[in-house]
Amino acid sequence: MQQIFNFIIRNSNRLLFLLLLGISLTLTIQSHSYHRSRVISSANFLSGGVYERINRVNEYMNLRTENDELVLENARLKSLLFNKKDTTKAPIADSIKGVKPADIIVSKVIHNSYNTHENYITLNSGRNAGVKQDMGVINSLGIIGVIDNTSPNYSTVVSILNMKSQINAKLKKTNHFGSLTWDGKSTGFVQLEDVPRLASVRKGDTIVTGGQSVIFPEGINIGTVENIYKKENSSFYVIRVKLFNDMTNLGHVYIIKSKDREELINLENKSKEKDE
């Protein structure tokens, strides 16, 4: 007994070191596994509050670009409004239920990272505003990411510039699906994988979100085709996609509340249970 105590006292520093190393390595490894949310994130009172203050200063620097984007979006919306083709016929899918399938929460990026392999964005709205895990985040130019963690007033987003992110996307003109990933190299480009070779793809084609995911509605812009590669020994293309968004400069964003999401997930689970 005496010897055990002596051992602990003599090696207290080493034991302390091993304990803390164990804790931090566990946190690291846990954060690298995809399906679990991280324990330590910037969606909390302290870091969220600090980032919000920093962001208030930074916002003034970006007023000009922010205004330009708003003007462009306004112009686009106005052109939609003025060129509305047939006002007597409302869109069919929506008119059945009388509600829009997706609701939108306006939010603001208060911290944005893009220099690591796994990038996260912090937003200044959280559970109190109705933000939940796995909601999609977009802005006027295209998609940005998927909500990861939420706190009462803040939330973190898995950016599309995160090697763990996988988003269902398709070619706008032919409806061939693939999954959108990032190779960790350039902030302006992402990769669309597993596109069948049957698809006719050309440089400059538009890539949009696909309807297979319950996170994003179908047809939100992502980017244009830059290069097309053939994967060895497989019948799939890998497409390098140039993003419409400048991920290094983000301001206001929209969080998409998909109302049909729970219904869809329940339905899919039911069919899965039947199979088993």
Binding site: L16, I23, S31, I40, S113, E118
Partner: protein, 168 residues
């Protein structure tokens, strides 16, 4: 004794604050940012409580991870640096370092520079290895370690010369 503690707490908070507010937003060429917050571990008094250093370094790293959304990579790197600090002292200043009064925040001798260099390299290589977490990025890891280390060392030396605490 308590004034040394106060200086350490002050350093802990100030270095974290400037790291989060200024240096985390510096992205040279898109991916190079300096991490001068580890000056806290480098400047910790030589003969002070070692377990205190290990625990406070862990806290320092955890707070950084919270701000960077990076899991536990800063905590791991900081704890490793804090634990191996005496060995780096031995390497840089020779065996009898404990009996000398080492004041890092005075003029920059080759020994002091080599101590900062080795500490920064150790911290950064652990940090970027854990960040990438895959061996196919080995070249990327080395590149980031190299460039970030250069920037960290430059900013650290500038900060040491600007603040110069303990010198009254």
């Amino acid at each position: 004794m308590s004034s040394a503690l106060l200086v350490n707490i002050f350093r802990f908070i100030m270095l974290l604050a400037i790291q989060v507010v200024i240096f985390n937003n510096m992205n040279f060429l898109g991916y190079i940012s300096p991490f001068p917050y580890i000056l806290y571990i480098i400047l910790y008094p030589v003969n002070s409580n070692r377990s205190g250093l290990i625990i406070s370094s862990f806290l320092l790293g955890i707070v950084m991870d919270m701000f960077c959304n990076s899991g536990g990579i800063h905590a791991t790197a900081c704890v490793i640096l804090a634990y191996y600090r005496p060995y780096i002292f031995k390497f840089s200043f020779g065996l009898s370092y404990e009996y000398q009064t080492i004041k890092l925040n005075e003029s920059l001798t080759p020994e002091r520079f080599s101590f900062i260099l080795v500490s920064v390299l150790l911290h950064h290589i652990v940090l970027f290895t854990l960040e990438a977490f895959q061996f196919k990025f080995i070249f990327d890891i080395l590149l980031r370690t190299l460039f970030s280390s250069i920037f960290t060392i430059i900013t650290s030396i500038i900060i040491i010369y600007i603040i110069k605490p303990n010198k009254r």
